[in-house]
């Protein structure tokens, strides 16, 4: 026998499917929504529905978009000679917030990971190659996670891009700002030394 009325039980069950939400948090959120005006509940449900019906992947870069081309690909002021390759859209917005890059992006949709049965053909790699073949691109910046899967993907892409004779770079790796050098591990410190710059 269920503890709550069926609609409430149903909402708790659905909320529990969200990441980091357990039974107690789901109950708290459900009760909060129950006490909200109907209008707020409608707005929330419409927003969730819009997410699934109005958002799609950009034809060029595979970023989330409302139209066939995303706002970045449509922007005529962007530097079209550079493509920054990332694994997932949230990383794109993180780089955008830095305000230090004004080129285009390409979202792979993941990283090559034979451990998890993810192979090059499962990612948007052919789309990237087609953009490079277009001829306007002069540099591809690989901004992938500095972990084994990121390294594997970077090496694979560098090998394929090399055949087009354009520059392939990778974002620097090293000690994060605000952290004590003493606590950096050997591999990170080694990369930081390899990527040192003149001042």
């Amino acid at each position: 026998m269920s503890q709550y009325p069926e609609p409430l039980e149903k909402l708790i069950k659905e909320l529990k499917k969200l990441p980091s939400i357990g039974q107690r948090t789901a109950e708290r959120l459900a009760f909060y929504l129950l006490n909200q005006p109907e209008e707020n509940a409608m707005l929330l449900s419409q927003a969730v529905l819009d997410l699934k019906t109005k958002i799609r992947l950009c034809r060029e870069c595979f970023n989330f978009s409302e139209e066939e081309l995303c706002t970045i690909c449509k922007d005529g002021h962007r530097d079209r000679s550079m493509i920054c390759v990332i694994s997932h859209p949230p990383e794109l917005w993180k780089i955008e917030r830095c305000n230090g890059y004004h080129g285009l992006y390409h979202v792979l949709g993941g990283l090559i990971s034979p451990v998890n049965d993810v192979h090059p053909e499962d990612l948007h790699i052919d789309g990237l190659m087609r953009r490079i073949e277009g001829g306007a691109v002069q540099e591809v910046i690989l901004a992938l996670d500095p972990k084994v899967e990121g390294e594997a993907t970077s090496m694979y892409l560098a090998r394929r891009i090399k055949t087009y004779g354009i520059s392939t770079t990778r974002i620097a790796q090293g000690v994060p700002i605000g952290r004590d050098l003493e606590f950096a591990d050997e591999l990170t410190l080694n990369r930081a030394l390899q990527g040192r710059v003149s001042i």
């Binding site: 084994v148 899967e149 390294e151 591990d185």
Partner: protein, 249 residues
């Protein structure tokens, strides 16, 4: 009361948990396959640093709490950097890590599998010819199966022990079958050339360092890999169903 323990091993799988944590599967030196919860491992300022990267040989300090092994410290023993700086090597190493992850049972395993994997990764680091990688991968799989008591019989009939003139490989019986012993029309039987069976037997018996001295046809690698993968899946399926059943009860 929880007790602090220490072990060393290779990280063969890493999955994200929550916003900042990771669950890592380790092929350990003395406990077989074990999984640890590494809280905060995805944070940039994580104390674990690069010690929890896949295919790294790491020393772990952990304690058990309510059935979970919680990682307290991790320090790199060998990052296997050479392996991670070449795509072809890395792909083979990651593929074998996935194979081990599927094959081995949690908290149970032969310590010898750790040593075989260590030898294999070291060999992979030192090899120059990409075309030999598949041969070593096949030899690695055969050696691991043997250490788990699943070595296929490749030099005689698995049922009557006689040297066959023509042979079939039986996934069910775990080795070669002669004309007299095969049941015929069995879904688990595959025709297998005796030359290929001999080659596979060499890959099973010879240590990695001696494999460079032998010359085997490419068929041994191609047909052998397909056969051994089928053989592994055939024996893995009931094992996985058993694990699922045990987890449910």
């Amino acid at each position: 009361m929880s007790r602090i323990k220490k072990t060393a091993g290779f990280i063969i799988r890493s999955i994200n948990y929550g916003d900042t944590s990771r669950i890592i599967s380790v092929l350990s030196q003395d406990e077989g396959k074990v999984s640890f919860m590494a809280k905060g491992a995805r944070k940039i300022e994580s104390k674990f640093g690069s010690a929890l990267e896949l295919l790294t040989l790491t020393e772990f300090v952990y304690y058990q709490k309510e059935g979970l092994k919680l990682l307290s410290q991790a320090s790199t023993l060998n990052p296997y950097s050479k392996l991670k700086s070449d795509y072809d090597r890395l792909e083979v190493a990651l593929r074998t890590a996935r194979w081990l992850q599927r094959l081995l049972e949690e908290d149970h395993g032969e310590p010898s599998v750790f040593l075989i994997y260590k030898d294999f990764l070291e060999m992979l680091c030192s090899m120059l010819e990409v075309e030999h990688f598949a041969l070593y991968e096949l030899s690695f799989k055969l050696k691991v199966l043997a250490s788990m008591g699943l070595a296929p019989t490749l030099d005689r009939c698995a049922l009557c022990n006689k040297a066959p003139e023509r042979s079939w490989f039986s996934l069910e019986k775990g080795g070669l079958l002669c004309q007299n012993c095969r049941s015929g029309g069995e879904a688990h039987e595959r025709p297998l050339n005796l030359g290929i069976a001999k080659g596979l037997n060499m890959l099973l018996r010879l240590p990695f360092e001696k494999l460079t001295r032998i010359k085997l046809s490419q068929d041994v690698t191609a047909i052998g890999t397909k056969l051994i993968d089928e053989f592994t899946s055939h024996h893995l399926r009931p094992l996985m169903q058993q694990r699922k059943h045990l987890a449910q009860n």
